[in-house]
Subunit: 155 residues, 2 copies
Amino acid sequence: MVEELTIGEVARRAGIRASAIRYYESIGVLPRAGRTNGRRRYSVAVLSTLAIVRLAQQAGFSVSEIKTLLNGFAAGTPPPERWQAMAGPKLNAVEALIAELNARKQLLEKTLQCSCTHLDDCVHVATRAESGKPAAQQAALCAQQGDAERYDAHC
Amino acid sequence: MVEELTIGEVARRAGIRASAIRYYESIGVLPRAGRTNGRRRYSVAVLSTLAIVRLAQQAGFSVSEIKTLLNGFAAGTPPPERWQAMAGPKLNAVEALIAELNARKQLLEKTLQCSCTHLDDCVHVATRAESGKPAAQQAALCAQQGDAERYDAHC
DNA sequence: CTAACACTTGAAGCGCGCTTTAAGTCAAGG
DNA sequence: CCTTGACTTAAAGCGCGCTTCAAGTGTTAG
């Protein structure tokens, strides 16, 4: 007799809530579980699937993408083929996000060097380091319309 | 007579929707605008404020944080003090996010090297490169319970 | 005067990834 | 038998940053 698990046991073993498991079933990430007297019954195999789900989440996939990864390919499609299809574009997206976060970081560092006297002067930094312009015109946090003295002193 | 703008003109000049301006007013990011016959009237100064809003958004601040930045300090608190208070913690958060994205990226790269025959075997990579363990046990995408031959060959 | 259009308000909607709630069923222990 | 607790379902709620809707008022051109 194969060992069967209740949803609560699966949840405890997988470290997630039972409600999440029901949610995964409802949206098709997990196949509909068999029931005994209305209660879901799982084999231990579901734990591997849930581990894949977690792995994919850590890799940045949405639940809908995870659904595709698990169930969106012709049955028997080998994992390498699935990962190639899914991870390539995701990798580009992650790299773009990292670039954006680095820009964000630089912007924050610039604000920490601000010495404007009015908030409205802090606008000049908003020109997001668009390359091609002379450095002197984009290094500053203070606006150009501020008086020259303040501009020269701080920016 | 000072030049006054309708909400539509402000929206066009600032490159945002009028609905966003109303939203900012409703949550206190912008002060309540004066009205003429019920219609909002703005001075050009609001454009600077909206530029600050956009700058802060690019820096990763939420609208509620932007509200604090603009209106949450004692009137007259100079910008440098405001930025110090707001940007420091945000910088830490951004750095943490970047670290997380780098982990995500590494995970994606690992999946691209997968040569498992069953998805359930791809779990081993989920051990998020926890340092301290022998490299051979965490380099693989394939699970340990897979047969030894496959493990040796691909992982 | 009338049509067309910008504006006003409050409230609801969206996408995401679940969680929570409500109302009920089933199982095990005493 | 009764209580306790884990389970079932469908539906609503949450947080974010607006957008969209509905129903009405104001403004302007012809």
